[in-house]
Symmetry: C2
Subunit: 493 residues, 2 copies
Amino acid sequence: MSNSSSKDIIKPGLPRGLRDLNNLELKLLKNIISKISKVYESYGFEELSTPAFEFSDALGKFLPDQDRPNAGVFSFQDDDEKWLSLRYDLTAPLARYVGENYDKITKPYKRFQVGSVWRNEKPGPGRFREFLQLDADIVGSDNYLADSELIMLACDCMRTLGLDKNNYSIRVSNRKLLDSILELIANNEQIDDARRLIILRAIDKLDRVGVSGVERLLSNGRKDESGDFTKGAELSKASISKILDFLSIDNEDRKKFISQAGSIVNKTVAGQEALKELSEIDLLLAKLDYKEEVLFDSSIVRGLEYYTGTIFEANLQFDSSNDNKFPVIGSIGGGGRYDRLISRFRKDQIGATGFSIGVSRLATILQMAEFQLGEPSNGPVLILKMDTEFDYSYYQIAKELRDEGILAEVYVGSSGMKAQMKYADKKNSPVVIIEGTDEREKGIVTIKNLIKGKEISTSIDSRESWIKNSDIQFEVDRDKLVSKISKLLNSSN
Amino acid sequence: MSNSSSKDIIKPGLPRGLRDLNNLELKLLKNIISKISKVYESYGFEELSTPAFEFSDALGKFLPDQDRPNAGVFSFQDDDEKWLSLRYDLTAPLARYVGENYDKITKPYKRFQVGSVWRNEKPGPGRFREFLQLDADIVGSDNYLADSELIMLACDCMRTLGLDKNNYSIRVSNRKLLDSILELIANNEQIDDARRLIILRAIDKLDRVGVSGVERLLSNGRKDESGDFTKGAELSKASISKILDFLSIDNEDRKKFISQAGSIVNKTVAGQEALKELSEIDLLLAKLDYKEEVLFDSSIVRGLEYYTGTIFEANLQFDSSNDNKFPVIGSIGGGGRYDRLISRFRKDQIGATGFSIGVSRLATILQMAEFQLGEPSNGPVLILKMDTEFDYSYYQIAKELRDEGILAEVYVGSSGMKAQMKYADKKNSPVVIIEGTDEREKGIVTIKNLIKGKEISTSIDSRESWIKNSDIQFEVDRDKLVSKISKLLNSSN
C-alpha cells in the first residue's frame, strides 16, 4: 500500500453515497450556513464543535428518521480496542457534552452546531451517507418559550434565505397528542412496542400514501407501487376510525385545530397537556407575526425514540419553474422536545428542545427549484504568462489587483496564449491582462474584456467586428491598469 | 443500546486525543479559516470538498510527518465489506479526485480545501487525533512559478493574520539537494531504503538535537533525555562530515546559500537541478518583496514518501509575552512538489505542488503567544422574562434589536431575576432590558448597562454608589429603546 513506485494503476472512485463538492456547490452551502448561523447567533445561541466520532455507547443509537428502521452507524475500534462510532446526528454528541459539562455550562444552554453526520445505510437519489446538519438546541428549560423560540427561529432561518411565506411552512404537533390517541385505542386493544411503531409509522406516511393508504397500514397492510408489502397494525375498525378522525383535523387554522383536537383527546391527561402547550405556542406566535406560515398538523410524528412534547417540521414548496416540472417539495428539517435523552448520563431529567436543518438537503431543493441565493460572482482576473523574464511583473500586477480586493492570478502552466485564453474562459475570468515585450516597451498593458466579449459574440455574428470592437480589447497605461479594471468590474455587476 | 428507559447511567466522556471546541475557540478558528481562504481565493484557487472517508486503497498511506513512522489511519468496513479509511490529510483525496476527473478539470488545477483529518496514533500535549487542515495545491504545472506562488501564498497567509515579518519565516529547500547528498555519500557506502530513512530523519532533527545530535544519529545512534535510544545510520566519518558540511550552509542569505550549496552538490545532476530551481525562486521572490522572511535551509526534509522537488515549511516565532515564558515557536505547515502521487491513478506523470496549513496547530500557537486576532465581541443583549403575559413583548423587543444587527435574546428559563442577571453575566451580555408591570404602565423600559457596571464596580468600592449611578441603570421610553441601545453599544466599542 505504501509503495508509491508500484506500477499498478488504482482505479480512482468514491464509495457509493459519498460525493465531492465543487466550488459552486460549496458557495451555496457556505452561503446557507453563514446566513443561518448569523440568525442562530442573533438569538444568543453559542457555537459548539464536537469530534466526528465518539465512544459508541456514549452516542447510543437514536436515529431520528423513523422510516429507516435499518439505519446504521459507522463503527470501528481504535488502538485502545474501544468501539467508536461516527456521529449520525448532532444531538447525541450534545447530550454527551451536556452530561459531561453540566456544572460548567450556562443554563439554559443555547448552542448551535454545524457539521457532517454519517449514516451507514443504503444510499439513493438525493440520499447520501455523509451530509451536513445545522442544529440549534436549548438545554435546561422546560418553559414553552424554548419550544416557541425554536419555531420562530425556524421561520427566521427560512426568511433570511429570502424565501417567501408561500415557499415554506413550519408544521407543529405534540408527541402527547399521539400518546393520547394511543391511550384511547388501547382501551380496545393491546398496544405493545412493535404495534405502536407500526401505528406511528402509518400516521407519518399520510402525506405520501393518503388517507386510504394509512387506513390499509392500520388494518391488514399495504402493497406499494413497487410491489413491496408493508405489514399492517391490524387494528379494529373503531380504532382505525379514531385515528383517521384525528388525522382529518383541520390543519389550516391553528385555533380550529386546537378545538377539533380537543374534542378527540381531552379525555386524557396527555391530550390536555398537549392542547395547553399548543395553545401557549399559538398565542405567542399570533402576537409576533408568525401566522399562516406556522401550522398545526396531526400527522407530524418525527423520530420515534426520544421526542416527548412539541414536535415540528420545516417544509419547502416551490411551483415548477417550467412546465415540464412537478412542484419541488420537501422537508428540510425539524425538531422538538426531548426531555429524556440527556438522562442517559444523569440521574435527573433535563428539559431539552432542538431544531435541526438538513443543510445538504436544503441546498439540493433550492438548486432544483432554481432559487438564487446571492449574486453569481466572477472568477479571477487572469494575467497571461508571456516572457519568463517578466514573471515578477505579472505577479506585481496580480498583487496590485488583490490589494484592491480583486481576485487575480498569473497563469502558472507552460502552455501558449491559446491555451491560456481557454483557461481564462473555464475559470470564468472577467478580464485577461497581457503584458508582452511590445507593451512593456510602451509602458502599457493590453486588456481583454471577456464579459463584454461574451455579450457581443452572442449579439453580432461577424467574427471580424468582434475582434475590432474596442470595448473588448484595448490598451491602457500600466499605471492606470488597476483603476481601469476596478471600473470595468464594478460596471459589469 | 437503544433502550432509553434503561436506568444505567453512562459516564460521559471523549476518547483520548479528541476534544470539544467552544464558542471562543471556534471564533478564532473560523477567523483564521476565513482570512486564509480569502487569500487562497484571491489567487484564483477554487474550493473543493471531499468526503471524510474513502476507499482505503485509494487513499493509500502517505503520512507526511516523517517523524511518526507508526502513524496510522482509522479504517472500517461498510455493508459492502469494502475497506474504508478516514482521510489522514487532504492531499491523498485530491490525488484521487484529480485521477477521477482529470479530463474535466481546468488545468493547471488550483484548488483549496479546508477540513478535519484523523490520525490513529498516540495523542499527546497539543497533538490530537482529529485536527483541521487548510490546503492549497496546484496540479498540472511543472513550472517553477507554481512552487514560487505557493511560497508567496504562505507569506501572504501569515501577513493576512496580521503577523509581523519577525514572527514568521518560510524555510525552503529542495528534495533534489538531499538526493544529491545521498548520491555523493553512496560513492563510499551502501544506501538502502532503511538507511536512507535514518539519514533523512537525522537531518530533519537538526533544530531539535543540534549538530552533535545529528552527528550521533549518523554514526552509532543517540540516547535522548528520556533514555530512549535511536539507532544510528553507522556512516563513515567522511560521509558524516559531508552531511554536516551540507547542514552548515548559511541559511540567512539566499544568494550565499546557493553559492555554498553549489560547492557541495554541483557535481551531481540532481544537485544542479536543485540549484537552478532555488535560483529561479530566489530571483522572482527578491523582485516581489518576499525577502528576509523566505529563507533557504538545508535541514528541511518534510514527508519522506512523496516530495520530489521544492519543499518548504512555515514557522512561527513569538517572544515570550511575560518573563516566565519561553518564546513560542512552532511549525504550522508546509508543502512542496510531489510529482509522483497522482501517477498512482494514471500512466502519465502529473506535476503537482501544494501547501498545507495546520489550522488547529496555528490557532494553538496564536493562543499561547496571546496574539489577538480581531476584536473580542459582546454577547447578546438579554431581555429579562418578567410576566408570562408579556412574553410576546420581550420577543418583540428582541426582534427590533436583531433587525438592527444587535444580538438579542429573551431568557427562556423559569428562574427569577437574580438567576437571570447571573445568566446575562455568564453570556457576556452588554446590556439587560427589564420591562415589568410598572414599566409597561409608564410606557418605558429599564436598562442595565453591564459593561459600565463592570468598569465602575472595579473603580469605586461603595456598593451604594454603584446602584445609584445613573449610567448603569436608567429608564428610557419604549419607542426610543433600540436607538438608545445602538448608541450604547457603539460607544462601548
